[in-house]
Symmetry: C2
Subunit: 291 residues, 2 copies
């Protein structure tokens, strides 16, 4: 059950993905290496955690599958192919596996078990994630701190957009007062009132949109100097990362963890803005004082 | 050390306030009732908690102040007058007390002690908050879930503002293409590029702005049905709340916990928007589909 620095650091940059298990919705973050894994499941009340390494995986696999005689490596490889699509929300696509036949959730006072059933070499294949509440330090590092930074960034963005709207309103008012007319059927715009309660969806805390998930991953990259150094240098981060297998690399290729160096913007607003400048490659072209 | 439902529920609606203690910055949330209190202190790594009731307070007060012969009530009253301004960031104002003479922070592996020194009736007065890591359920309920909802609301707000900007850009372009000129010295506006990295302040996670703090409190009111019911009915929420003393009432009067019913908007943008509609009293005047 011991954990090394490498996997924890790698897990930090993983995206949070909404996953439905039974009647419950979770935000899930997972990392699978070579004969080790680390899974977080967040529900409204608790952050649950299961992390295992080779020895524990072997013992649990044998206990749950007494008739199955596959090597631990084959067993783990099958587990990964079954569970990754399920935990990353890609169960029905990408050809990464068919997912488990059956998943059930069992809750106890201070414990939660996720039972999977699949098939390997024609025999039933069982696995259980035995989840305990994560330590508070993990909740703060994985969730609270990045969420606070994300809130601040979004708030600053809102402030900038408000000021921009104010300037556009002044320009429009000037045109109108000088008798300008719209000719292409363009509708006039008004000061639009929005009220925050309408934007709040109180049941939405675990519906983390992909936009927010991307933003969250960006922020975690920024908060994690080791990760940034690696992105900039193109080198491997730590010993623990070597030999993680194709799963990690594949996920990075999809851009889920793309860094801030790419000039990330919310909701891919490239069509709205003329272009997206890269502040690192091309210098800082955004003059905040003008907004 | 036992806690009742009342105080926990009341603490939930309290704002998070940045507080500097020694060289460390925390987000602090506190509730002081009649001979009981509950304090949360968040640093980058952990959410710390100290909650006590009458018996524990009396014992600790006697241990720390062997020469002081005041009644426990007088003692607690003095503690509250000293510590509230310190923990709510109003140390230098409002005439609510002068704050402690001296505050020091002592950290151990799984424990943090906050030592205060003040003066009562001409004698030195000591108090210590013995903080332990809060349970994960408290971190999720007090921070993670409201922060996730807040992120979602801010993201929706950003989306709406972007669409509004897009419409204003179309109107401005129409005027310009028809030869309209600006006459009052109003500057022309352009598509302004903003890049998220510039909005991220990675050291800002504990600088929770007052805007965000207000929004957070609003969200917590929404997430807490009991609290909303009370706001709507104007009645006391629970037995545990009765007799909380003037501190709680005073804080409510300042509007720090104002509810969504007031048509809350970020950064008090009333000057920008023509007015703020109350969706509950006047119906839903915001036609989201138009944005």
């Amino acid at each position: 059950m011991a954990s090394s620095v490498g996997p924890s650091s790698l897990l930090r940059s993983r995206p949070w993905i909404p996953v439905d298990i039974g009647d419950s919705r979770f935000l899930c973050k997972s990392w699978f290496g070579r004969m080790q894994y680390h899974v977080f499941l967040l529900d409204g009340e608790c952050l649950w955690e299961d992390q295992m390494e080779a020895e524990g995986i072997q013992t649990r696999a044998q206990e749950l599958n007494r008739r199955l005689r596959a090597s631990t490596e084959s067993f783990f490889s099958h587990l990964v192919s079954v569970v990754i699509p399920f935990l990353t929300g890609s169960r029905h696509g990408h050809g990464t596996g068919s997912g488990p036949d059956h998943v059930t959730l069992h809750r106890a006072e201070n414990h939660m078990t996720l039972r999977l059933k699949s098939e390997l070499a024609g025999l039933p294949f069982y696995w259980e994630f035995h989840c305990c509440p994560a330590p508070v330090s993990a909740v703060c590092g994985q969730l609270v701190r990045p969420l606070l930074v994300m809130g601040g960034a979004l708030q600053r963005q809102v402030d900038i957009l408000f000021k921009l709207l104010q300037r556009k309103d002044a320009e429009i008012q000037d045109y109108r007062e000088n008798g300008a007319q719209l000719t292409r059927g363009t509708p006039t715009t008004e000061h639009r009132i929005w009220v925050l309660p309408l934007l709040l969806d109180q049941d939405s805390s675990l519906n983390f949109s992909s936009d927010l998930s991307d933003l969250f991953s960006c922020i975690v990259s920024q908060l994690n100097p080791t990760k940034r150094k690696r992105q900039n240098s193109g080198q491997e981060e730590e010993e623990g990362e070597k030999g993680d297998g194709p799963l990690v690399e594949e996920e990075e290729k999809t851009g889920q963890m793309k860094g801030l160096d790419e000039g990330w913007n919310i909701s891919d607003k490239k069509n709205l803005w003329d272009s997206v400048l890269n502040p690192i490659q091309e210098g800082n072209h955004v003059r905040k004082s003008e907004l």
